[in-house]
Each structure stands twice: as structure tokens, then as C-alpha cells.
């Protein structure tokens, strides 16, 4: 791998780690939650509850998964 490719990879890894962090599933859950809110709001149905519900579910799922992995190790 060339030095330029190595640096580009390191640069991308830095930003991935900075923005996404330890669990990429959280970022995916946030994107899904915002998309679901936008879709529901577009139909005229009250959509404010979608984000808090999905956010709580994603957080609970992520910490439970991390705790299980810690126990298994």
C-alpha cells in the first residue's frame, strides 16, 4: 500500500472513530429514527414520539449487547 493510501486510510479511520465511536449500530439507529420521523411527519400524523422511542431502544440494545460481550469475555 502506498504512503498516500495509508495516510488516507488513517484519516478516514480517525473521522470514523471521531463521529461514529464504539458502536456503529447507534449511528444506523439514529439515521433510521430520523428517516422514520420524516416519513410519518410527511403523512400528517403526529411524529414527535418516534425519535425518543427509537433512541431509547437503540441505547438499551447497545448497552445490553456490550454488557453481554463483557460477561462472555
Amino acid at each position: 500500500m502506498s504512503a498516500l493510501a495509508t495516510r488516507a486510510r488513517a484519516f478516514a479511520a480517525f473521522w470514523w472513530d471521531f463521529v461514529v465511536g464504539d458502536d456503529w449500530r447507534i449511528a444506523v439507529g439514529v439515521v433510521i429514527a430520523i428517516a422514520a420521523t420524516a416519513l410519518l411527519a410527511h403523512t400528517g400524523v403526529p411524529a414527535w414520539f418516534v425519535l425518543p422511542v427509537i433512541v431509547v431502544a437503540v441505547l438499551a440494545w447497545s448497552v445490553r449487547r456490550a454488557a453481554r460481550r463483557a460477561v462472555d469475555q
Binding site: 464504539d22 447507534i26 429514527a33 430520523i34 433512541v55 448497552v63
Partner: protein, 249 residues
Amino acid sequence: MTGWPLAAATFLACGVEAVEAATIVLAVGLTRGWSSAGRGVAAALIVLVAVVAVLGPAVSALPLGALRIVVGGLLLVFGLGWLRKAILRAAGYRALHDEDQIYRRETASALTASSRSAFAVPDVYGFTIAFKGVLLEGLEVVFIVLTFGTNAHHVGIASIAALAAIGVVVAVAIAVRGPLTRVPENTLKLLVGTMLTSFGTFWAGEGAGAHWPGADASLLWLTPAVLVVVLAAAGWLRAGRRSALATSR
């Protein structure tokens, strides 16, 4: 969110980042000398100013709806990441963030690392560690100031609060000349994670077209609700861990 709530939220969030950066710079400065550490800090500040110069106008130019989705989404990802760590630490699944331990680790590494000079830097190791520490934590400060400030249309207040937080931390660090161990960093991180998640949920929801009952006032129930969920999750995981440990004995 305007005035004092904005200033308080920004001050707390940026204060936590400043404590982490100060610990690294102190460890490097006191063991490897201040010349290279100081240059590392200065270089990181120059990069951060460049980032603000590029990102600031770009963020301000976004239409409000798109800005709220992007900023709210990023705040949510950041906030949930902080809360995830805070819950796992509170439940005992992850080591507590210990500034004293980090300081000792950085000091031990700094004492054993070889010394090499390059360009105008007498000690590349000291320069690099100080540069990375300030740049990483500084990027989070920039992100917090830009997102909180732009959304509330008060970048000035957010900037002043951030500078005040950094000023207080630097002044205390200079006075103590050691790790800021008395700062309840884990508790602060839990509170800041709660704020980032609450504001992120609110702004992302508004940007996506949702109408919150009570408009801005919904933050008054949303923030405590997030905190209750976080504390409940930590308690639930802690109880599960105790029961698992009791079963394994």
C-alpha cells in the same frame, strides 16, 4: 435554548473536554519539557482555527431544516456514545474514566519514549502527544460550540461559554500542576451525554418535520426523561451484573 441554558450546557460540555486535554498536556509537559509540548498545543490550535474558519460559514449557510437534521443527528450519535460509556461505567462493565490513572499512564510512556528532534521541534514525541490530545478534544469543543450556537442562533454566547470553560480548566491545571482528579468527570459525562441526547432528539425531530407538544418547552420534560432512562439502564445492568457474579461463585 438561549442565554443561560445555552451557556451552561456549552460550559459543562466543553469543560469536560478541556479536562481531558489538560491531563495529557500536563503529563507530557512536565515529563518531556514545555518547549515541544507548547509547540504541539500551538500547532493544534492553528489547525482548530482553520477548521472553525472552514466549518463555521458552511454550517451557518445550511437551511434551518437541514441544519437541524444534520446537527441533531450528530448530537444524538455523540450523546448516545457518551451515555453508552457512562452506563457501562456506572454498571461496572467498563473501567471508570480516571484522570489520575491516565496521567500516570501518559507520564510513564513519556518517560520511556526515545527523544528525537525534527524540523524546529526539539522533541517529536512530546510535540505529537500534546498535538493529538488538544486536536482531538478541541474538535469536540468546536463541534459543540458550532452545533449548540448555530441552532440557538447564539454562536457568540456558546463561544464565550466554551472559552470560559477552557480558561477555568487551564487556570486550575496551572495552579495544581497535576491531573484534575477532583473533577467528577464520570458524573459530568453522564450529564453532558444526557444534554447532547435530549437536544439532539429535539432538533433532529424538528428538522424531520415533527411538532413537539409544547414546542421548546418540551426540552423541560425530554431532558429529565432521558436522565431517568439512563439511570434506570445503569441500575438494571448493575443488578444483572451482581446477580451474574453471585451465580458464578
